[in-house]
């Protein structure tokens, strides 16, 4: 039949095109890796001073900064995720007052730069007291934690609200029709699902939080970038400390992604029917496997 032949040749054409696109992708990706990798090898072999890299002067200062950043990240992460949960709940509150306050919070902290918020807290807040009366001596680190928490709570809040929105209405209805109160239904039924829906977005935001600690250099927190700036201005050798900077940030962000992956696996009930799960299994998005 003519139509059948058409269909067959069509499918053949599509398959050819698919294979062509795949090959182009491989060449592009391979070429990219070769170019960047070559540049990297060249820099690492000609620009980096390996004796200096391990010297206590450099390594020791970076180690101190690293520990400080890890502490700031851990505390700000825990606080911003907890606060974000409250903001997400506020966003879906049936009380218009709570809902609007949560919305306003998100608009403000998402709508102004983190740097501005850090300046308000670090420079602005102590001036609310009479000169010399501000009770906190080393204000930089607490200000940093407060700024990161307030800012990232807004993003986490939006992620959680999105996660809640993605839970079908039928879930709340089923829970309520069993006689659960709205709060109980949220806690037992909706939030566990919303949490899973929101995990990837929250993880993404928390990795940005790690990198946002680099801004703290401008409010005199002795973090990783400020160590780099000090060393760079003394040594005129940017590449050696830059290697440290890169490795240290990657160490934190990669641990963070591991943690998020672990949490995602833990809340993955039933089989993996996500788009990514299906694609990586190679069944091409079919419903049945």
């Amino acid at each position: 039949m003519a139509t059948q032949t058409d269909a067959e040749s069509d499918t053949g054409g599509v398959m050819m095109r698919d294979r062509f696109v795949k090959r182009v992708g491989e060449i592009a990706a391979g070429g990219f890796v070769l170019a960047i990798g070559g540049l990297l090898v060249w820099i690492l072999s000609t620009q980096v001073d390996y004796r200096l890299l391990g010297s206590p002067l450099i390594a020791g200062r970076f180690a101190e900064a690293f520990l400080l950043v890890v502490q700031i990240v851990v505390v700000s992460s825990l606080l911003s995720v907890s606060a974000g949960l409250l903001i997400g709940l506020g966003r879906i509150s049936t009380s218009p007052v709570t809902g609007r306050i949560a919305k306003g919070y998100v608009e403000f902290f998402r709508g102004t730069p983190l740097l501005f918020q850090l300046f308000v807290i670090f420079f602005g807040v102590p001036r609310l007291w009479a000169t010399g009366e501000f009770p906190i001596q080393n204000w930089a680190v607490p200000a940093a934690v407060i700024g990161l928490t307030l800012n990232h709570a807004a993003y986490v809040g939006e992620a959680i609200r999105g996660g809640i929105d993605a839970v079908p209405d039928g879930q709340m209805e089923a829970a309520r029709s069993l006689g659960m109160s709205r709060v109980m239904a949220l806690r037992e039924v909706v939030l566990p699902q919303a949490w899973r829906n929101a995990l990837a977005a929250i993880g993404n935001d928390q990795i940005i939080l790690v990198k946002d600690t680099s801004l703290l250099t401008v409010i005199a927190v002795p973090e990783i970038m400020s160590v780099f700036r000090n060393i760079n201005s003394n040594q005129l050798d940017p590449w050696t400390p830059l290697v440290w900077v890169c490795l240290l940030y990657l160490a934190i962000t990669m641990s963070m992604s591991q943690l998020v992956n672990g949490l995602e696996r833990r809340s993955d009930w039933g089989s993996d029917s996500t788009m990514l799960g299906r694609l990586t299994r190679g069944s091409g998005g079919g419903e049945e496997s």
């Binding site: 039928g170 209805e173 089923a174 309520r176 069993l178 037992e188 009930w269 029917s273």
Partner: protein, 242 residues
């Protein structure tokens, strides 16, 4: 005659300007199975959802066992009304057992093992004793709907509402769900069902309620409804199905 278990009394329901229920009067006696039929959009599902206040009504009232549904504590009254949905609405993060045990554990404060024991019994009753640890995603539609029935039974309701519970199922899975509902009817559960399965309505229903455009057109004993509906609307409805 004793008082009816469920009684709709002049119920009006509006979605915005549109009236979807118009002066509904209906009484369901204890141990009775009443099947609501009618064309799509006639307000059948809404009628059911007004019984447990998933929908608020604008006029009239619904009484359960003599108590006004609109005045009683909504969470308490819902515990006496089991509801099963067209789309199952199982909790995907809980196993079959967890789905059934959740409400008794959290609402009644039943100890975990007692709730689990009871849930196991209920799952056995719907023929799923071997699927207690399965997550909904791993179950067929028919199995999911039977878990949903077990879940609705877990709070020991005095009446069960079934809202087109076989409409989302593949035809070959409908039977297993209807069998469970028939068993429930045989055990004397009071039930209000909305369905498109006329064969099933005929088999399980004591009375048939025909709804058209938000009104109850006819309430007739099942046998006589299918032989000779009392109203012209009823005859039209049946003739369109044949």
């Amino acid at each position: 005659m004793s008082e009816p278990l469920v009684e709709f009394d002049g119920v009006d329901k509006f979605f915005g300007e549109t009236q979807v229920l118009d002066g509904i009067d209906l009484a369901v006696d204890e141990r009775e199975v009443v099947v609501v039929v009618g064309p799509s959009g006639s307000g059948k599902s809404t009628l059911l959802r007004c019984a447990n206040r998933l929908e608020e009504i604008q006029a009239g009232d619904v009484h359960l066992d003599g108590r006004s549904v609109t005045e009683a504590d909504v969470n308490q009254i819902r515990q006496q009304i089991g509801m099963v949905f067209q789309s199952f609405n199982l909790f995907p993060h809980k196993t079959a057992l967890g789905n059934v045990a959740l409400a008794p554990e959290k609402i009644r404060g039943l100890p975990e093992d007692a709730a689990a024991e009871r849930a196991r019994e209920l799952l056995e009753r719907v023929g799923l004793g071997d699927q207690t640890t399965s997550y909904p995603e791993a179950l067929s539609g028919g199995q999911q709907q039977r878990v949903a029935i077990a879940r609705a039974l877990a709070m020991d309701p005095t009446v069960m509402l079934f809202d087109e519970v076989t409409s989302a199922l593949d035809p070959e899975l409908v039977g297993e769900v209807l069998d469970v509902i028939e068993d429930l009817a045989a055990e004397g559960m009071t039930m209000l069902l909305v369905t498109h399965e006329m064969g099933f309505a005929r088999e399980v229903g004591d009375r048939i309620v025909l709804m058209v455009d938000g009104e109850i057109v006819e309430v007739t004993e099942t046998a006589s409804f299918f032989e000779a509906p009392e109203t012209e609307r009823g005859q039209q409805f049946l003739s369109r199905l044949l």
